[in-house]
Symmetry: C2
Subunit: 280 residues, 2 copies
């Protein structure tokens, strides 16, 4: 009988997921983090950074579509789009589905995430060679400081708030994003689990509300992420995503997002909306 | 250093959750299934039947509210309500929040689930002693056959489609429910995960659509259930849940459901709505 190998991720000190695996396809310590690619039987290839699942073949579409399209459709005509983090290329792939896009800039601090994703996740990273894509291997915080007033939409596709991503959950970073956006600009950041990261969500929502005139949170269901429920926080200079008109939506090929849910998304479970009402 | 104990549930042959535990509070083999109660560090007490998580202190509110309130508010004035399964009492607790309810009948096949829940889950089972509650320890299939035209709302709060619950996912059972409902009646059944039970969801939706003039599916995020995303299928004799007017909603104390999401719930992720379009 074959040996059974299982990968277990402790998503909190007291809870986790476990996945039956085949081969470990890749393991390295990069300049910034440990980087693993493993074959799972349930979700296909899985990218793991510092022991945390970043994406899998089978459920990546939820995260990448939901990080991208809500903000992209909130902006009236996004031409220049920046993705901070997101070296796997999934958010860039979704950004490029919008015909108004002229340049999609990927700012990823770790070159190895890009290279390994291109090798093992061709369905996710395949659009990084598109002529509209510009790849910057540099610190996202420095990149936004160096590019004031440049972008229409900025998507923050970070790892968890440990290691290289700590600064991407702090108020000075969101202030920098505000300044890197053109008038009418929109940002969306992944902001963790409403079950396991309650204080972080409250804090980030307060911070973004202190900078952007319009702030909205929405969620999506991602099986391989902690608790299976994930949050995204949107900051907008002018347009409220709740006011976007139906005529704005161009047809997209997607598997999770569709325009019919654009307004419905903001009808949050009560325990989630209560996180946004707490005093600072 | 203390020994660490972890409970691992294989939700599929290739994927599962794992939870750090304290004491095992209860273990028995009942007439119908194995029944365990364990203390988890993340989700509080956890009820496990035949090795599958049924409910936990911390996330039970999602399942019980979402099984109950969508159907209850779809009916104009639910007076007689039946819960099939649901021996933990959580669905009954939610049913009783609706002031029109005169009798709430629990039909649970396994008396021990009720008794053990009353001991270890007082927050969930505490309303089973309400004067409006009638408890029947019997087979749900036989109960509906014996009670034609009796109920306004029937909720199917079953275990997974193995063991004692197999018949609760089959077309003759839904036909029996139709006949046990009064004119204007509404049913809601828990129908498993859109990630891991795709064929089951398609089949149940087709079966219920073949019996009820109105069939709708919606989802909710439940961290301890397989994939974290759960589906519910509603069948209605007259009222479409999408047509319920705002004035129908009476205020309820809830932590997940609120009337603002009543219509939004039906804006399903595209990969879920595609399950409902397949040919039989």
């Amino acid at each position: 009988m074959d040996m059974e190998l299982w990968y277990t991720e402790k998503q909190t000190p007291n809870f986790g997921i476990t996945a039956k695996i085949g081969k470990t396809l890749h393991h390295e310590q990069t300049e910034f983090q440990t980087l693993d690619v493993i074959e799972t039987k349930q979700f296909g290839n899985m990218l793991v950074l510092d022991g945390m699942v970043m994406t899998t073949d089978k459920d990546e579409f939820v995260y990448h579509e939901m990080l991208t399209h809500v903000g992209m459709f909130t902006h009236p005509e996004p031409k220049r789009v920046l993705v901070i983090g997101g070296g796997d290329g999934g958010a860039i792939r979704e950004v490029l589905k919008h015909p108004s896009v002229e340049t999609a800039t990927l700012c990823e601090i770790d070159r190895r995430v890009i290279e390994v994703s291109q090798k093992y996740f061709p369905e996710i990273a395949g659009k990084l060679t598109d002529l509209r894509v510009e790849i910057k291997v540099e610190d996202g915080i420095k990149h936004i400081e160096a590019n004031p007033g440049k972008y229409d939409v900025i998507l923050v596709d970070s790892t968890e708030p440990v290691g290289p991503a700590v600064g991407l959950f702090q108020k000075p970073f969101y202030q920098g994003i505000y300044e890197a956006l053109r008038p009418g600009g929109v940002m969306v950041a992944q902001t963790e689990s409403p079950w396991f990261n309650r204080e972080l969500i409250s804090q980030v929502y307060r911070d973004i509300s202190g900078i952007f005139p319009i702030t909205r949170l929405y969620t999506a269901s991602i099986p391989t992420y902690p608790s299976g429920l994930w949050s995204f926080t949107l900051g907008s200079k002018e347009m409220d995503p709740l006011q976007v008109e139906e005529s704005r939506f161009t047809p997209l090929e997607t598997k999770y997002y569709h325009p019919g849910m654009h307004h419905a998304l903001f009808q949050l479970p009560r325990f989630v909306s209560e996180l946004l009402e707490q005093e600072g």
